[in-house]
C-alpha cells in the first residue's frame, strides 16, 4: 500500500482565478483497473484557463486543474497488466469512460457520452476528479499512456493534451505526403500541429497574426507562413488546402470563417480544436459557404489511447521535441496569466515541487 499524499494547487475563489492555494484533496476511489501515479511534471493548457476563469461555465470548488501529466507508477490494481510500479507514464485530458458503449468499443473512448474529464468532472460515486497541478493522480489504465524511453518527461508532458488534441484530427484525416495542411494559430496546440504534420510528411501552411513568431515557425518546419493581418490573405490560397486545423480560441461575429473555408480544396475539412468561452459561438454561416467546395467544418475531442500511442511512437521515431518553458509548480499563477495573455512560447511545463 503506497503512502502517496494527494495535494495540489487548487482554485478556491473564482474571483482570484490564478491565485491557487495548496490543498489536500480526495483522490479517485482506487479500483482494480486503476493506476496510481506520482506526478513529476504537468503542462499548462488553455483548458486550465477557460475552466479557472469560469469561461466554460461554473466549475467545482475547490478545484485542482492540469491535464498534461507525467509521473511514475506507484501502484496498480489487480486487473492492470500493462503497467508496473516505477513505469514512466502520462495522463491527458480524459480519465474515464463507460468502456461499454459503441464508441468505447471502437477505440473512440474520447467520444464516450459518459466520459469523465481529468478535472472538474464527477465519478459515479460522487468523487470530483482533480487534475495534475498536484503530487499524484489515479486513473483507469485505458487513460494511462506508457512513455517511450527516448522521450524526456518534460517534453512528453504537453503531448498528453496539446500534442494529442491536434495529432488526432491530423491522423484521422490522413495527413501525409502529398497533403496540404493549414494550421491556424501557432500557440501550444498550433506549434505541435506544425511539428506533427511535418513529421507525417505533409506540406504545411502556418497562419498567424503574430509577426514576432515567424522566425520560430520557420524553424518548426512550416513550408509557408501566412500573416492573417494582411488583407485578402486567403485569396491566393483559394481551393488549395486539404485540411485546416484551427486552434483559434476566440470567435467574434466578424471572424471571417467563410474566408477560411474558401481555402479548402473540394471536400476539404476545417477542424476547430480551439474551444472558446461559452458565450462565443461560431460566426454565422450560410450553406452557400459550403456549397462552393463541398467542404466540411468539424470539431475534435482530444484523442484516444490508440491515437496517443501512435503519436508517441511518431515523436520517438522522428525525434519531435516541443518548444517549452519549464518552471516550478509554485509559479503556476504566472504561467496561467501568460497563457491567457498569449505570451507563452509555446507551452509551459510545471515541475512538481510539493514533495
Amino acid at each position: 500500500m503506497s503512502a502517496v499524499e494527494f495535494k495540489g494547487y487548487a482554485l478556491t475563489d473564482p474571483s482570484r482565478w490564478n491565485d491557487l492555494k495548496v490543498s489536500s484533496f480526495q483522490p479517485k476511489t482506487f479500483a482494480p483497473d486503476d493506476v496510481e501515479i506520482a506526478i513529476t511534471h504537468c503542462g499548462v493548457c488553455g483548458s486550465d484557463v477557460h475552466t479557472l476563469t469560469q469561461g466554460w461555465g461554473e466549475s467545482k470548488l475547490p478545484l485542482v486543474v492540469g491535464h498534461e501529466i507525467i509521473g511514475h507508477v506507484t501502484r496498480v490494481g489487480d486487473k492492470v497488466k500493462e503497467f508496473k510500479k516505477g513505469d514512466r507514464v502520462g495522463v491527458g485530458a480524459k480519465i474515464g469512460s463507460c468502456m461499454q458503449c459503441r464508441p468505447c468499443k471502437s477505440d473512440y473512448e474520447n467520444y464516450c457520452p459518459k466520459s469523465i474529464s481529468t478535472y472538474n468532472s464527477e465519478y459515479p460515486d460522487g468523487v470530483v476528479s482533480q487534475g495534475g497541478y498536484a503530487t499524484a493522480i489515479r486513473a483507469h489504465q485505458q487513460f494511462v499512456f506508457p512513455i517511450p524511453d527516448e522521450i524526456e518527461s518534460r517534453d512528453a508532458a504537453s503531448m498528453m493534451c496539446a500534442g494529442l488534441t491536434v495529432y488526432s484530427p491530423l491522423k484521422t484525416y490522413g495527413t501525409g505526403p502529398g497533403k496540404k495542411v493549414g494550421i491556424m494559430g501557432i500557440g501550444g496546440l498550433g506549434h505541435y500541429a506544425v511539428l506533427w504534420a511535418k513529421a507525417m510528411g505533409a506540406e504545411v501552411y502556418a497562419f498567424t497574426h503574430d509577426k514576432s513568431k515567424m522566425g520560430d515557425i520557420k524553424k518548426m518546419g512550416a513550408d509557408h507562413i501566412i500573416n492573417t493581418e494582411e488583407k485578402d490573405f486567403f485569396k491566393p490560397l483559394a481551393n488549395t488546402l486539404d485540411l485546416i486545423v484551427s486552434t483559434r480560441d476566440v470567435f467574434s461575429p466578424d471572424t471571417p470563417l467563410s474566408d477560411y473555408l474558401s481555402m479548402l480544396f473540394v471536400h476539404g475539412k476545417f477542424i476547430t480544436v480551439g474551444i472558446p468561452d461559452a458565450n462565443q459561438p461560431l460566426p454565422s454561416l450560410h450553406p452557400f459557404s459550403f456549397a462552393s467546395n463541398g467542404c466540411l467544418i468539424g470539431g475534435s475531442s482530444i484523442g484516444s489511447k490508440k491515437d496517443a500511442l501512435d503519436m508517441l511512437e511518431l515523436a520517438r521515431k522522428k525525434n519531435v521535441r516541443p518548444w517549452i518553458e519549464e518552471m516550478p509548480m509554485k509559479d503556476v499563477g504566472k504561467a496561467l496569466q501568460n497563457v491567457k495573455a498569449n505570451k507563452v512560447r509555446y507551452r509551459y511545463v510545471l515541475t512538481q515541487d510539493l514533495n
Binding site: 464508441p103 471502437s106 481551393n239 473540394v266 454561416l285 459550403f290 462552393s292 470539431g299
Partner: protein, 363 residues
C-alpha cells in the same frame, strides 16, 4: 425518328415585380453558340426544383435579369452534336442538370469535381464568356457542353430520370462522398423532392434509413419509399433517444428556424459523423448558431454540397436503373408551370413536379 430543327423558346418570367414571380409567358430564347463539344437536346420533360423558386423570387440574392427561363432537371433526345463529341449521337436519350459549364482546366475540373469549379456556369441565370445568357429547361431545347450531358440508361423512363439530374444528384453525391453503403445508418431531414430521393438512394446503396419529417400526412408514403424508421419532428425532444445513432445526416432543410438548434441534429451523429446541408435557403437565412462545443462532443462535421459531377451522375443513373429506383412524381403540362412553382413554394409537391414540354411536338 427524323432529327428536328429546334426553335428555341420557353416559358419565361418577364417582370421583375416580385408579385409576378410565377407569371410565365412564352418567350424566344437565344441559345448557346454551338461549339465542337456541344450537344443539342430537344426537351421532353423538365422537373421543377426549389432552385427555380429561390431564383424567380430573388430569394438567393441575385435579382434575375428578365426574361428568365428557369428549369434544370432536363431530359430529352439529342438532335445534333459538335465534331469533337464522341459519346453521343442524334436520337440518344439524355439529361442535363443544374450545371452547364466549367473551365475544364483547373485542379478541381481535372479531378473530376467540375461541380466545384470556381468558374462554373449554371444552367440558367448564368452567362457564357461570350455574353450569351444561360436559359433553362422550361423550354423546347437546350445546348450543353458534353461534360454536362448524361446518357439515360435503358430501363429508366425519361420522365423518372428528369428529376434525378438535379434533386437526385444533389443528394446522391453527398451520400456517395460520405460513404453511404451497407452497415451505415443515414438520417434524412425533410422529405420533399430531395429528401425522398435521399431515402430511395440510401436504401438502394444498402444503408439503414431514418426519415425525419414534420408532416404526419407523409408518414405512410415515407414507409413505402423504404425508410426503416420514421421520426416525427413535432416533438421537440425527438432527437434525444437517437444520440450517437447516425453516420450521415442529409439535411434538405430549406428554411432554418431558431427553435431548431443545429446541435440537436448534430447530437444524433456517431463519432466523426457528418451533417450535410443540401438545402440552400434564401440569402438572409443563415445556419442556426453553433458553438465549437457542439462539434467537439462527437468530433462531428457539418458540410455542404453542390449538385454533383458527371462521374457521380452516371453512377447514380446506373444504380437507379439496376435497382428500379422510381421517384414519386406528379406530371403537369409545361404551360402549368405556375401551378408547379407555387406548389413547390408552399410545400405541396408529392414529391416532385415534372413538366411535360408542350410548346412543340417532337414525336
Amino acid at each position: 425518328m427524323s432529327i428536328p430543327e429546334i426553335e428555341f423558346k420557353g416559358y419565361g418570367m418577364i417582370s421583375t415585380d416580385p408579385s409576378m414571380w410565377s407569371e410565365f409567358q412564352v418567350v424566344p430564347i437565344t441559345p448557346k453558340n454551338f461549339g465542337p463539344h456541344d450537344v443539342e437536346v430537344a426537351i421532353k420533360y423538365c422537373g421543377v426544383c426549389g432552385s427555380d423558386v429561390h431564383t424567380l423570387t430573388g430569394g438567393w440574392g441575385k435579382k434575375p435579369d428578365v426574361p428568365l427561363v428557369v428549369g434544370h432537371e432536363i431530359v430529352g433526345h439529342v438532335t445534333r452534336v459538335g465534331e469533337a463529341v464522341a459519346e453521343f449521337k442524334p436520337g440518344d436519350r439524355v439529361g442535363v442538370g443544374a450545371q452547364i459549364g466549367s473551365c475544364g482546366e483547373c485542379r478541381v475540373c481535372k479531378a473530376g469535381d467540375e461541380n466545384y469549379c470556381p468558374k462554373m456556369i449554371h444552367t440558367y441565370n448564368g452567362v457564357y464568356p461570350d455574353g450569351v445568357r444561360t436559359q433553362g429547361g422550361y423550354s423546347t431545347g437546350i445546348r450543353a457542353h458534353e461534360q454536362f450531358v448524361f446518357k439515360i440508361p435503358d430501363g429508366l423512363e425519361l420522365r423518372d430520370a428528369a428529376t434525378m439530374t438535379c434533386a437526385g444528384l444533389t443528394v446522391f453525391s453527398p451520400l456517395k462522398v460520405n460513404g453511404c453503403g451497407p452497415g451505415k445508418t443515414v438520417g434524412v431531414i425533410g422529405i420533399g423532392g430531395l429528401g425522398h430521393y435521399a431515402i430511395l438512394f440510401a436504401k438502394a446503396m444498402g444503408a439503414t434509413v431514418y426519415a425525419f419529417s414534420h408532416s404526419a400526412s407523409k408518414e405512410a408514403d415515407i414507409r413505402k419509399m423504404g425508410a426503416d424508421f420514421v421520426v416525427s419532428t413535432h416533438d421537440l425532444d425527438y432527437y434525444k433517444p437517437l444520440q450517437g445513432t447516425l453516420d450521415i445526416i442529409i439535411s434538405t432543410i430549406d428554411h432554418f428556424s431558431p427553435d431548431r438548434p443545429l446541435k440537436s441534429y448534430l447530437s444524433m451523429l456517431r463519432p466523426h459523423g457528418r451533417f450535410v446541408t443540401c438545402g440552400l435557403p434564401d440569402a438572409d437565412n443563415p445556419l442556426p448558431t453553433i458553438h465549437a462545443f457542439d462539434l467537439m462532443y462527437n468530433g462531428c462535421y457539418i458540410g455542404g454540397t453542390h449538385m454533383g459531377s458527371k462521374r457521380e451522375a452516371i453512377e447514380m443513373l446506373q444504380l437507379a436503373a439496376d435497382k428500379g429506383v422510381k421517384p414519386w412524381i406528379q406530371e403537369l403540362p409545361m404551360s402549368q408551370a405556375k401551378t408547379a412553382v407555387e406548389g413547390v413554394k408552399t410545400g405541396k409537391a408529392r414529391y416532385r413536379y415534372v413538366l411535360k414540354q408542350d410548346l412543340v411536338n417532337y414525336d
